[in-house]
Amino acid sequence: MAKSKFAGKFKPLDIVTAEAAFESYGKTLDEVFANSALAIAETMTDSAKVKPKIKKSIRLVNSDLNALLVDFLNEIVRMTDTDKLFFSKFKTKITDAGGTWILQAELAGEKINPKKHELRADIKAVTWHMFELKESKKGWTARVVLDI
């Protein structure tokens, strides 16, 4: 999955026998959400080879910030599978609306082409297993386990 070029954004974790997992980072919530999305994209393909031709938007609302991230990543998995798209660019904006979190995300990618794109893992789902989203002095860190 990830190579050192993603240092500071995310790194794969070897913590679950049959699944994939990663830890993602961000100085802000916006960044940790975007870098988690990038980790999802890199689990499925080499995102450097995916041109940002097709644009998609995601808007989610949740009172639970953890659920907002899990739902966001699951939405990317769903869109990849449904629309046969790989994504490579992610812009995210998280707003605290007083007890409710709002996510507005803009994604860009292109149709999956096996001749052009590397086919890595087909993610079944983003799980709650060992899930964590925490803030420290350095910023935000998420830990995510994927069912593949």
């Binding site: 794969p12 026998t17 049959a18 699944e19 994939a20 659920a67 046969k84 087909d122 079944k124 593949i148």
Partner: protein, 491 residues
């Protein structure tokens, strides 16, 4: 989040292959209600990862659990339940948990026999595998081979493999050779989200990736363990068979995701507290649980249809290469079993017949000759059990026993079980080198990804012989034959 202790809990050996963790291990709420039981030879027990002990004892804390929470010999750490987990919950007082079934609802195995021998195919192996690779889409983004209208999609959710046969993707005799005749009753498309419907519309007839595959295998004479059983199941020496391993694709994954999200925030209101987020569950009698059950059955039926359609393409591929009808090639289905599923079943517990909702996650139903669910054609042998091994080491055909019902609620292993993580396998093995090594040993693999190939190296798995022997010693399932891989298509 699940915290792993540094040391294993106290485990008592009950018999040669049965080990138990006492309910005393977790006394704080939510406490263990029954023991956690692990089936394994001594060697396999030594290899079990720490996560299994934690996860199976967490399952033992769920309301309504009967007798014991069980881990099969191929168990490994999963999410919520271990993969290889078996649990029965009272339908009146118990729960249903999507994590005890898995995201890939009705992931399962299908085994097809032929009249061909190794000599018949050895010179045509490469074009045969290449043809199957073209006919059966594999890997991320694979397009289904049948485009379903919304109405057809609903029919597939209800009629499963029967829809395929009705639409000429199979033979009438296939139906009685599929668990639940390829269509579980009680499926309700109205309980499936629009997202799942859209995600599933383009997935029918695809293998997927990970450990999913279709494999051409040979039954060597020395690998037939019971000639009478083998003959009854249509198996003979040097025969070529085809095994398929896949599930309900994005359709089932989305249904599981939807209902985990649905259950999670409601659990406090139901008074349910679990030791792991992924054990999200609902009281079986609640409307939410019944909705999930109806949706899960839609995914299960979709998976039966998926494997049916894949078998249809395999028959087409063989027919093309051998220039003969699939019927004349003797390409009959032996059986199709689910290994990620919940079933409402009746079992004898403490001398009384009780209705339970069986959770089998990475575990196969293994009913003996006398269970009413065993198809009539297998009333002399017991229900066939198909055990998928690694692409290097081979797989097994077994049959269930009558004793299985008393021992494990009629459940057994589903595969060989991973011992090495995917990340570790990629570090240790190189896909291209593995491909070359396997080719030298007479196994031709066609994969969409070198990385994906490396993840599935034989050494990443437990010794499948130990796994099937465990359940034979426990008198739960009996070995019929071992199937050796010669050609493999993987996602």
């Amino acid at each position: 989040m699940i915290q792993l202790p540094k040391e294993r809990p106290p485990v008592k050996q009950i018999s040669e292959v049965v080990w138990e963790i006492s309910p005393d291990y977790k006394k704080d709420e939510p406490k263990m209600l029954v023991p956690a039981r692990i089936y394994a030879t001594k060697k396999l027990m030594e290899q079990m990862d720490m996560g299994i002990f934690e996860q199976i004892s967490n399952v033992a804390c769920l309301p309504g659990i009967q007798k014991a929470a069980m881990a099969m010999p191929d168990a490994h750490w999963g999410y919520g339940f271990p993969v290889g987990g078996v649990a029965a919950f009272d339908t009146k007082t118990g729960i249903i948990s999507p994590g005890g079934i898995g995201y890939d609802i009705n992931c399962g195995m299908r085994l097809i026999r032929t009249d061909l021998t190794w000599d018949d195919i050895k010179d045509k192996l490469k074009p045969l595998v290449d043809t199957l690779f073209k006919l059966v889409p594999a890997g991320v983004g694979g397009h289904g081979t049948v485009k379903l209208t919304p109405q057809q999609h609903k029919e597939v959710m209800v009629d499963g493999a029967k829809w395929c046969v009705k639409n000429n993707y199979g033979w009438q005799e296939d139906i009685e050779r599929i668990e639940d005749s390829g269509a579980i009753e009680g499926a309700d498309p109205a309980k499936v989200s629009e997202s799942a419907v859209k995600r599933g519309a383009a997935g029918l007839g695809t293998l997927g990736s990970g450990n999913h595959y279709l494999e051409i295998q040979v039954v060597k004479k020395e690998n037939i363990y019971d000639e009478k059983l083998a003959k009854s199941l249509g198996i003979f020496p040097n025969q070529v068979c085809i095994m398929v391993h896949c599930g309900s694709r994005g359709f089932g994954h989305q249904i599981c995701t939807d209902y985990v999200s649905n259950f999670k925030p409601k659990m406090q209101g139901w008074g349910l507290k679990t030791r792991d987020f992924e054990l999200a569950c609902a009281p079986f009698q609640s409307n939410e649980a019944q909705d999930y059950l109806a949706a899960m059955r839609c995914a299960a039926n979709y998976a039966f249809a998926n494997r049916q359609l894949i078998m249809h393409r395999i028959r087409e591929g063989f027919s093309k290469i051998f220039n003969q009808d699939a019927e004349k090639l003797g390409m009959n289905l032996i059986y199709d079993v689910a290994h990620n599923i919940a079933k409402v079943e009746k079992h004898t517990i403490d001398g009384k017949t009780k209705e339970v909702v069986m959770h089998r996650k990475g575990a196969t139903r293994a009913f003996g000759p006398n269970r009413k669910e065993t198809p009539k054609i297998y009333r002399d042998t017991g229900q066939p059990v198909i055990v998928g091994g690694s692409m290097e080491t081979g797989s097994f055909l077994c049959v269930g026993t009558d004793h299985a019902e008393l021992e494990t609620f009629g459940s057994t292993m589903h595969g060989s079980g991973r011992t090495m993580s995917r990340t570790a396998a990629i570090k240790q093995f190189q896909g291209k080198k593995l491909y070359d090594d396997m080719l030298k040993r007479g196994i031709y693999v066609k994969s969409v990804s070198w990385e994906g190939l490396a993840e599935e190296a034989g050494l990443a798995y437990k010794d499948i012989n130990q796994v099937v022997d465990t359940m034979e010693i426990a008198d739960v399932s009996k070995k019929v034959c071992r199937l050796v891989p010669v050609g493999n298509v993987k996602g």
